[in-house]
């Protein structure tokens, strides 16, 4: 990364229902969660996705696995629009 902008991990889910379950689980684990419009790079999944700071990616994956929340895809993005 050369821009100095923040990096985030974004988790995609196959339904709103699952995405909200993911948010609940990650909030309960005190991770820095934001729901964002699903980036096109995640395909055409649910209308929103769950974003955490990139350094929390592994923790988030572990939390979601423990909570048995099925993740449909995960990507890393830069905060190009300063979201």
């Amino acid at each position: 990364m050369t821009s100095g902008r923040a990096l985030f991990a974004v988790f995609g889910f196959d339904s709103t229902h699952v995405a909200l379950k993911a948010e609940d689980a990650l909030l309960a684990a005190d991770l820095e969660v934001a729901l964002i419009p699903t980036p096109r790079a995640l395909g055409s999944l649910c209308g929103f996705a769950v974003r955490v700071p990139a350094e929390q990616r592994q923790s988030a994956s572990a939390v979601l696995e423990t909570a048995r929340v099925d993740v449909n895809g995960v990507i890393e993005i830069e905060d190009r629009a300063r979201r």
Binding site: D14, S15, T16, H17, L20, I36, S44, F48
Partner: protein
């Protein structure tokens, strides 16, 4: 013109009224504060709507004893839920066994399916409207049967059917158990994980105390009817095929967010106060039932006092027609009841009231001993 009498509402079997303040407040809040399209975006109003629906689904699943709330499908009502499960699971050549006391919400879609080649075998209930599990077993044993279909409770007789036994019979013979729970949900404490139904259709606005325009269908994890409606849902927009995941598979189109908000609030209320509400319903129903039996010329339909029933008491009179009684009750004492066939001509035929229909008292949250006393006194005066 102001009403001469306060409304004494005995039509809960048609729809509950008044709605609890929590239900009304939740619906207003949903429209004012969560008015986006659920699941279609990530802005605050859309997320608010999605959270409203998810919260309602979770609350209803907890109330009904459903471990995975994805198995709760929101529908436009109980009739829509029944149509989904019947038309999504039965094909020409299938055979079903159904009780003779079903509501038109079951009878009409079944007869539409019969016209396409589904065989409908009817098991007759007794004169009190009760289904005998042994007779259902005999019918299921006759030939391969795809589904056993039965109401949980009658909107005419109040009889509660032995769904657990029927589910056991269905499963022993490789059939699924489909239940019309319009009069059961809310009025009967439910644990759907233990009941044995593969599908249980609920009305949101009767015993569940929610608004009109929303219902729910429980589908067991292994039961996968075909969806009847395809379309957008906010998820997997690039795929041409309908998503296969629940609940999205069965909820194409924009959901009823205000309705879900109201139903969710009602489910939370019933989780907290359901036992108390049901105990009052049972006590008032029994009092009304027993004292109506003491009025000359009155016949009360359904099981005798002391036997379990949902809070429905239907009567006929040997001289006055149900419509005359209903009109007189409202004029005399502001009592709201329903006369006629109650969309259940099969039931009236079974219990011998197809020609006359009946006058139905449907009890529920908000009624008091005073209301029952006034209703009884009015009946005594009207038939004197």
């Amino acid at each position: 013109m102001a009403a001469e009498h306060p409304i004494r509402y005995f039509d809960h079997a048609a729809t509950s009224w008044p709605k609890p303040p929590e239900v009304v407040d939740a619906m207003v809040r949903a429209m004012a504060e969560a008015g986006g399209n659920p699941g279609r975006g990530a802005h605050a109003l859309s997320l608010g709507a999605a959270r409203t629906i998810a919260g309602a689904r979770s609350a209803l699943a907890a109330l009904l004893g459903v471990p995975d709330d994805r198995d709760i499908i929101f529908t436009a009502g109980c009739t829509s839920a029944v149509n989904l499960v019947l038309k999504g699971s039965l094909v020409p050549g299938d055979r079903v066994v159904v009780s003779s006391v079903e509501h038109n919400s079951v009878v009409r879609p079944l007869l539409a399916l019969a016209a396409l080649g589904v065989e409908v075998s009817v098991v007759r209930a007794d004169a009190q409207g009760r289904i005998d599990a042994d007779e259902v077993e005999r019918a299921v044993r006759e030939r391969p049967t795809r589904a056993v279909i039965c109401q949980h409770a009658s909107n005419v007789t109040g009889a509660i059917q032995p769904i657990g036994d029927l589910a056991d019979i269905a499963h022993e013979h490789g059939s699924v158990m489909i239940v019309d729970g319009a009069q059961g949900a809310g009025h009967i404490a439910l644990d759907l994980s233990a009941l044995g139904a593969d599908a249980y259709a609920c009305s949101g606005h009767k015993g569940l105390l929610g608004p009109q325009g929303i219902g729910a269908l429980y589908l067991s994890p292994a039961f996968q009817p075909t969806e009847l409606v395809q379309g957008g849902g906010g998820g997997d927009s690039g795929a041409s095929a309908q998503p296969s995941a629940r609940p999205d598979r069965y909820e194409a189109g924009t959901g009823n967010t205000p309705g879900a908000a109201g139903l969710g609030a009602a489910a939370r209320l019933l989780r907290a106060r359901g036992d108390e509400i049901r105990a009052t319903e049972r006590r008032l129903t029994r009092r009304l039932h027993e004292e109506l039996l003491g009025i000359d010329g009155i016949r009360v339909l359904g099981p005798p006092p002391g036997e379990e029933r949902v809070p429905v008491v239907s009567v006929t009179h040997d001289r006055l027609a149900p419509d005359e009684l209903a009109f007189a009750l409202e004029r005399r004492a502001g009592i709201a009841v329903r006369a006629g066939l109650h969309c259940s001509p099969w039931t009236h035929e079974t219990v011998g009231t197809a020609e006359t229909g009946a006058l139905r008292f449907g009890l529920g949250l908000g009624l008091t001993d005073d209301d029952v006393a006034v209703a009884l006194e009015a009946m005594r005066e009207i038939v004197a």
